[in-house]
Symmetry: D2
Subunit: 506 residues, 4 copies
C-alpha cells in the first residue's frame, strides 16, 4: 500500500488541490492564516452562531495557547478519551446543536423510528468530516440508532470547538480542534482508528483522508469493515480510482452523486449563495449588472437563475453543447469569454475545470470587475498569475482583495479564487440536513445489506433511499405527497412505495 499511496494519491494531490487545503503548501498556508486572522466570518460551517460562541472563541485565542495535545481533559463523567480545545465550552456547543436540531427534522425523525429497532446496533463508525453542529446532530443520531462513533476533523480550520466540547461531554471520542497543524491532523485521525480493543466496521469519510490513512497504515482493518460512505467529490474520485485499479477492498457508497444532494447542494443552494456571497463581500447592486457565468451545470444554472431574477444581464460560457442549448432556451446569451470579458461587471466560474479565467482575461477586464469562483476547485481562476511584481494586492475586506494594475485598474478578487459559497456565505442547515440524512441511510444500508448485494465497488445510493431522504424533508414545507392507488401503481408498473423514477432521472 505504500506504493499505492506513493503513486495514485500523490499524483492526485499535486493535480487536484482540494478546496480546504488541509495540507497547504507554504504559500497556501500563509494565505489561509492571513485570512483567518482577518475574519471571523471566514467560515464554511453554517447555522446560527451565537454571541456566546464568538465570546468563547475569543477567549480561546487570547488566554489559551496550549496545544490540545498537551492538555489533560475529562468530561463531567470522568471520560477522557477525546482531544479537543476546551471541554468547558460544552454548554455553548450544546446550544448550537439544539438549534441545528430544529432544522434537521429528518435526522430527528430517524431517531424516533429507531426507538424500537436499532439498525446500527453493533456498528462501530469511524468518521472524518467537518465538525460542526450539524455533524453533531448526525453523530448523535447514529448513536441513537445503535452505533459507536469515533471522529476526527477533515479540515484543519473547520472545527467548531464548542461543538467538539459538547460531543466530548456527551461521551463521543472526538479528536479535533480549530487550527490544527498538518501533523495534528493525521495524529487525530490516527487516534480515531488506532485504539486498543475497538476496531471500526464502518467508515464515514469526507475527502478520503481517513480512508487513505487506513489503507496506508492499517490495511488489515478492511477485513472487518463493511463499507465506506464518502461524501466529497475528491473522496469519490479517489474511490473510483481505487476501484479502477482493482484496489478497493470493500463496498463504497458515493453519497456525493445522490440526486437530492446534487440538486440541493448545487442548483438550489448555489441559487441562494451566489447572491449572499457577493453581497457580503462587495455590497454590489445586482440590478443592471452584466455578469458572465462560466459553466452551465447545476451550479451555473443556480447562479444564472438567481442573478437573472435580481435584474442582472447574464452571459454564459459552456463547452458541452447540451448544457449550452439549455442556456439558450433559458434565455442566456452563450458566448466565449473573450467576447464579453471587456464589458462585464462580474465574472463567476462554475466549471470544475482549471484555468478558465487566465491572466489574459484578467488583463482585459474593466476597472472594478468582480471575479469569483463557485466551482468545485480553486483552480478555475489562475490566481497565481496575479502574483507578479507589477500588480499590487490590497486586502480591502476579509475575503476581498483589490488587485491593482499599473494603470490603476482594480480587479476585485473574492476569496483568493477559492469557493465563494464556502468562504463568504453560509450553507443553510437544511441543505446539510439532506446530506447528513443521506449519510446516515447509506451507513444503515451498507451495514445491513445482505451478503452479496454490494461488491467491492463504488455505488450510487439506491433511488428508493434517495426518495426516502427527500420524503423525510417534506414535512418542513408542510408538503403533502399524493399516494398512488393500486390501480394507478399497476398501470404504471410501479410499487406504490417507489422507487418512482428510473435511476438516471434527475
Amino acid at each position: 500500500h505504500g506504493h499505492f499511496s506513493g503513486s495514485i494519491l500523490q499524483i492526485q494531490f499535486a493535480d487536484q488541490k482540494q478546496e480546504f487545503n488541509k495540507r497547504p503548501s507554504k504559500i497556501g498556508r500563509r494565505s489561509l492564516s492571513r485570512s483567518i486572522s482577518q475574519s471571523s466570518t471566514d467560515s464554511y460551517s453554517s447555522g446560527k452562531r451565537t454571541q456566546a460562541h464568538f465570546s468563547a472563541s475569543y477567549t480561546d485565542s487570547s488566554d489559551d495557547e496550549t496545544s490540545p495535545r498537551d492538555k489533560q481533559q475529562k468530561n463531567s463523567k470522568g471520560n477522557g478519551d477525546f482531544c479537543i480545545k476546551n471541554i468547558k465550552q460544552a454548554d455553548f456547543g450544546r446550544r448550537e446543536i439544539e438549534i441545528a436540531e430544529q432544522e434537521m427534522p429528518a435526522l430527528m425523525a430517524l431517531r424516533k423510528r429507531a426507538q424500537g429497532e436499532k439498525p446500527l446496533a453493533g456498528a462501530k463508525v469511524v468518521g472524518c468530516t467537518h465538525i460542526t453542529a450539524q455533524t453533531a446532530v448526525l453523530m448523535e443520531t447514529l448513536s441513537a440508532l445503535g452505533a459507536q462513533c469515533r471522529w476526527a476533523a477533515c479540515n484543519i480550520y473547520s472545527t467548531q470547538n464548542e461543538v467538539a466540547a459538547a460531543l466530548a461531554e456527551g461521551g463521543f471520542s472526538v479528536f479535533a480542534w480549530k487550527g490544527e497543524s498538518e501533523d495534528d491532523f493525521w495524529w487525530c485521525i490516527d487516534r480515531c482508528v488506532n485504539v486498543e480493543g475497538w476496531q471500526p466496521n464502518m467508515i464515514l469519510d469526507d475527502g478520503g483522508d481517513l480512508t487513505h490513512w487506513i489503507y496506508k497504515k492499517y490495511p488489515n482493518m478492511f477485513k472487518k469493515i463493511k463499507g465506506i460512505v464518502e461524501e466529497s467529490v475528491t473522496g469519490v474520485h479517489r474511490l473510483y480510482q481505487l476501484s479502477k485499479a482493482g484496489k478497493l477492498c470493500v463496498p463504497a457508497m458515493n453519497v456525493n452523486d445522490s440526486v437530492t444532494k446534487q440538486k440541493f447542494d448545487n442548483l438550489y443552494c448555489c441559487r441562494e449563495s451566489i447572491l449572499d456571497g457577493l453581497k457580503r463581500t462587495t455590497d454590489v447592486m445586482f440590478g443592471g449588472k452584466q455578469v458572465v457565468v462560466c459553466g452551465y451545470g447545476e451550479v451555473g444554472k443556480g447562479c444564472c437563475a438567481a442573478l437573472k431574477a435580481m435584474g442582472s444581464i447574464v452571459y454564459v460560457t459552456e463547452i458541452d453543447p447540451i448544457c449550452a442549448l439549455q442556456a439558450c432556451m433559458d434565455g442566456f446569451r452563450l458566448v466565449k469569454l473573450n467576447e464579453v470579458i471587456r464589458q462585464v461587471d462580474i465574472v463567476i466560474t462554475c466549471t470544475g475545470n482549471k484555468n478558465v479565467v487566465v491572466r489574459e482575461y484578467l488583463d482585459r477586464m474593466k476597472n472594478g470587475c468582480i471575479v469569483c469562483n463557485m466551482g468545485h476547485s480553486n483552480t478555475e481562476i489562475d490566481v497565481a498569475s496575479l502574483r507578479t511584481p507589477e500588480l499590487t494586492w490590497e486586502r480591502v475586506r476579509s475575503q476581498v482583495d483589490h488587485v491593482i494594475w499599473p494603470d490603476g485598474k482594480r480587479i476585485v478578487l473574492l476569496a483568493e479564487g477559492r469557493l465563494l459559497n464556502l468562504s463568504c456565505s453560509t450553507v443553510p442547515t437544511f441543505v446539510l440536513s439532506i446530506t447528513a440524512t443521506t449519510q446516515a441511510l447509506a451507513l444503515i444500508e451498507l451495514y445491513n445489506a445482505p451478503e452479496g448485494r454490494y461488491k467491492q465497488d463504488v455505488y450510487l445510493l439506491p433511488k428508493k433511499m434517495d426518495e426516502y431522504v427527500a420524503s423525510l424533508h417534506l414535512p418542513t414545507f408542510d408538503a403533502h405527497l399524493t399516494e398512488l392507488t393500486d390501480e394507478q401503481a399497476k398501470y404504471l408498473g410501479l410499487n406504490k412505495n417507489g422507487p418512482f423514477k428510473p435511476n438516471y432521472y434527475r
Copy 2:
C-alpha cells in the same frame, strides 16, 4: 407472430390507449370526426400553413371524394409508385417544405456535410411517421445522405396532403393521406414493405405499428434489417416489452429518451405550449388565477414555470418525493388534489398516469373551472365518467366543451381530455428539428455501427451523438461554444470533442 400480436400487443392496446387513436373505437372515431369537421386548427402538425394550403385543402374536400387507392396518379417524371391525395398539390407542398427548411438548420447542415461521403449509401429505410413538412425535410435529408426511402403515415389524420404530394413529385414512394380508414392505414404500411425487388434494411418508426406489421407479416425481413429507430413513448414501450420477452431480433434505438428530445419536447416546449393551448381555447387571463398542476416531471416543471411567470398561483401534486421536494424548492405549494380542488380555476394533468382527475374531483370543482391534460396519455382525466345522463355537454368552440351539472355549474373541458399541446397548440419546427436530427443520426449510427457494437436490445442514443445534435442547433441562437484546451481536457479526463457528461446527466 400471430401468437405474439395476440398477446403482448393486444393487451397493450387495451391498456394504453394511444393518443392519436389510429384505430378508434366507434365512439372515439365519432368524436374525432366531429372535431375535424369543426376546426381547421385541430391539428398536431406544426409550422406555417399558408393560405394556399387552406385553399387547396378546401378544394380537396369539395370536389374530390374519390379514395386515393382508386386513383391512378403519376408525377411529372412518370413515376407512379406512391399513393396520395392529389399530386397536383405538389407545388404548395414544396413551399411548405422550403419554409420548414429554414427552421431546421441541423438537417440542412447534415446534408452539406454529406456532399462528400454518403453515410447512408445503400440504406433502404422504411418509415412510418406523421407526414408533415418537417418529416419531408428529414426524408430529403436521408435521401441526400444516400438512403432510399418508402414511407407511410403513423396517424390517419395527420398527413399534410400537399406535403405528401411534393414528396411524391420528388420521387419518394409515399403512401398516406389525411383521413385514412383503418384499413387504408395498414394497406399503406403494407405497400411500403411488401414491394418486389426492394427490401428495407432500416426501420424508422413512430408508435411501433410499422415494426408490429413486419413482425406479424414479414418476420423474415428482420434478417436483413440492421436496426429500428423508434420515436414514441408507446413504440419504445413495445420494444422494451419485446426485448424483455426475448423477441427483439435487431438492435433498436430509443430516440424518445435522448436528453435533447426530453428537455425540448417536455420542459421547454411545454413551457410555451401550456400557455398557447389555454389561450387559443379559452382566452383565459393567467394573472391571479389559481392553478393546480398534477405531476412535477419535466412537463409539469415547464407548465408550472410558465404559469408562475404569467402571474398564476400554482399548486403541485406529486407522488415522487424527489420531484415533490423540487416543487417545494421552486416555490410551489405541494398539496393533495382534494385540498385545492374547490378553489382552483385551472386543473392541468402532467402525470402520465391514469384517473388522476376522477369524477369525484370534477364534481367538486367550482363553476368555470378549466380542465386539461398535458401528460402522456388521454387517460389522466376520467372523461368517461362525465358521459352520464345528468350532465349536459355543450361544444362551445373547437376542442372546448362545457360540461354542465344539474345546478348549472360548468366545467370547461379541453380537447376531451386528450393532449392539449397536440390538440390545441402547435409544436415549433425548431423542436421537431431536434427530433428529426436525432432520428437521422440514430439511423446513421445503427447503419454504420461495426458488428457487435449493438446487440438485440434497446439502446439510448450515445451521449456523444446527443451532444452532436445539440451542437448542430446552436447556430440558430448565434451561440458560441467554448473549446477545452488540451490542458483542461487532460485535467478533466475528457476528450476535447466530448462526450462531456456521464450518460445519466440530464
Copy 3:
C-alpha cells in the same frame, strides 16, 4: 362648429390615424376587406365565440346580402326601434352575454346594489362603443341602474351581430352591424341622437366620434348633457384639445387614464397578449430568441417581462431616461435599434410614436425576422415604405405577411403593422370588465355630482372610485382585503374607506 371640425379634428385625422380605420382611405379599406375575407379570427372582440356563433355568421353572409337599413325588423314585443343585421340571432347573442356575465362580476355586483336605489334613474345615455357581449353586460347594467340607452358602434367591423340582436330583442335601441360602410357608420350614430321625444343627457364614447357628431350637428344638445365619459386615447386627446381651445362645454371623464385601466390594459394584459399574438400568428418558439422591444412604458414592461420569462433574450430601446434606467434595473440591455437590428429574431414596437421601425432598419433585419406592433397607433412601423416594387408581399396566413427582398430575405410582418394584441389575440373579459365598471361608475359620478363639483374640463376618475373598481374585482381572486383599525387610520391620516394613496400613485 363647422370651423372646429374643419381644423382641429381634420388635422388630427391626418396625423393620428386611428387603429380601427373606421373611415379608411382606399388603400386602408382594401387591406381591411382582404383581411376580413381571409380570417374569421381577425377580430378584436374577445370572449367565447361558440360554434353556433360561427354557424350563424356563416348563414348571414351566404343568404342575406340585404343592408340592414333596408330591412324592417321587430323584436318579439313588436318594438322596431333598432337597426341590426338579424333579430333572429338573438338567442345566440343571449348565450354570449350570459357567458360574459360570469366573468364580469363587478358589473353584476353593481346591479345587485342597485336593486334598492337607481343611481341612473332619469339618465338618458347615448353610447358609441364596440358592440360585444361585454358591452351588452355594461348596457344591461346601466339599464338596471335606471338609465335609458341608445347605442351605435364605434367601429365598422367590430359589432357582434348576434349580440346586437340580443340587445334589440331585450328592448335596446341599437344601431350597428358588422361591416358598416362609412355612410352607415354616421347614419347609425345619427339615429341614436336624432330621435323625436328623446334627448340624451349623458354620453359614453369610445374614440370621440359620437361627441364629434353632436358637436357638429346638434350643438344645442349639450345644454342638457351632464357629462361625457370617454374611453380611448384618441377620444381623450380630442377632449383635451377641445378643453384647451375653450370649446368643451360639459365636464368629461377621462376613463382611459384611470390606474386600474392603465395597469390592466397595458402592463398585465400585454404581458399575456404579446405571447398569444405571436404564437397564434407565427408559432414561434420563444426560448432563446433575441428580441428587441422598442419602448419601456407599461406596454413594453409587460412585453419584456413575458418574453424574458419564456426564455427570450430581450433588448430595450427608450427615449426617456427614467424608463431606460428601469429597463436596466429590470435586467434588459438598453440599446439603440441599430445596434441589434441585424441580430434580433423579433422586433416589437411599444412606443406610441411614429416611424420607430423605418425602412432602413427593415432592410438590415435578418431573414425570418418577425416585426410587430403593440403600441398605441399603427404608425410605429413604417409599413408604407415596404410597399415598393422591388419587394414582394406574400400573405401566408391571416394577419401574417412575408415581405420578400430581392435577395430572398423574408420579413414576417404581423397585422400589417396594426396592433398585434387587437388583431391577433383576444382581450380577456376580465380586463374589459374593469373598463366597463369604470365607465359605469364614471357615468354615475358625473350624473349625480352636485352642481359645481365638475366644470367644463377633462377629469381623471377620483382615486377613490378607482379603488372601488379594483375592490369589486377582488372576489374573482378570492382575495381578502385587510381593513385599517381606527388607530391605524388615524396614524396614517387616512379615512378607513380610502382613498389610500395620493392621486399620482401608480
Copy 4:
C-alpha cells in the same frame, strides 16, 4: 416658533418615532448601545469598508475616550473650524471617498460640467445628513460647483469618523462623530449655523432637525435662505405640516418623492436588501419557505419579487384595493394576516403603518418564525408587547433576538423591529448616488430659479430634472438612449430633451 415646536413637532415625535432614534428614550438608547458594542456590521452606511477602517475604528475606541468637543484639532493647513473624532484618520477617509467616487459617476459628471460655469457660486449650504463617504462625494461636488458648505450629522451613530476627518482635512467645516450624545447632536447643528460672518442661504436636510433648529432658534435666517432640500419621509412630512399650517417661509424641494429615488430606494433596492438582510442575520434558506409580506407598495413589491424568485411561497396583505389587485395579478395570494399567521416561516412588514404585527399574531406564529420590518418606521411590529415577564429574550447574534414563549416556542426577531435594510444589510453606493445627485440638482434648481418660480410651498422635483438624474446614471450600465427625431418629437408634442412623461407617471 416655540409654540410651533411645542405642538406640531412634539406630537410628531411621540407618534412617529424616527428610525434612527436620534434622541432615543432610555430603553431605545440602551438597546442601540448594546447593538453597537456587539456588532461591527450593525451599520446603515454602505460601501466598502477597508480593513484600515476597522483598525482605525478599533484604535479610536481603545485609546481615545476624550470627547471631540474637548479637543483642539487643526488640519494640515492650520484650519480648525470643525469638530470631529480624529483628524489623523483623514487618509483612511480619503481612500473611502475615492472608492465611493468610482460608483457615483453622476456626481463626477456634474463636477466636470461645472468646470466652466459654477451654478452654485455664492451658495452657502448648511447640511445635516448621514456623514459617509457618499455624502463626502456630494459635499465635494457642491464645493466644485461653487458652494461653501457647513455640515452636521443627522444621526448620532451613523458618522464614519475617518470620512469626517478627510472632509475636515479638505477644508470643510464638519461637526460630527460617531456616538454623539443628544446634547452633542444639537450642539453640532448649532455650530453649523451659528457662526460669525457666515449665513447660510441654502439648507440640505435629512430628517428635518436642522430646519427645525433654525425655525426655533434663528427664524430670521430664513430671510436670506433661498430654499430647503429635504430628503427623508419624516422631514418631508414636517414640511407639509408647516406648509399646511402656513408657516413654511421658503420654498422646499421634496427629494424623497422623486421618481428615481422612489423606484430605486424602494422597489429595486429592497428587492436586493430583503434577501441580504435575511441571509446575513439568519442564514435562512429561501427555497420553499412560506412568507407573508404585509403591504404591496414599492417596498412590498420589491420584497415579494425577490422572494418569489428565490423559491419562496409568498402571501400578501393589503388595505388598498388597487395594490391588492396588483398583488393578485403578480401571482400572490392576497390574505388577511390571521389566515396564514400560523403557517408562515417569515413575516415581513412593509406598510409604513403601525401595529401591523401585534402580540396576538406573534402568539400564534409557529416555532422558529422570523419577523422583520422593511417599512418606513419601527412601529410596524409591536415589539413593546414582547417585553413582558413571561417571555424570555435571548440575543443570538447581532441584530437577532430569540423571543421565547413559556412552551419553548421561539420567534426570531430581527433588528428589534427596526428597519432590516438599514440595520442588517447595506445600501449600494449606486442607490445613494441617485439620491445625492438629486439633492445636488435640487439645490441648483432652487438656488438659480428665477423669482416667482417657487413659492413658499413644498415642491416635487421637476420631471425634467428627475429625468436628468436618471440620464446621468445610464453610462454605468453602458446603456444607450435613443433620441427622438424632430418629426417624432413633433408628433408626440414633446421637446426632444424632455420631459417625456407627465408628472404623475411612475
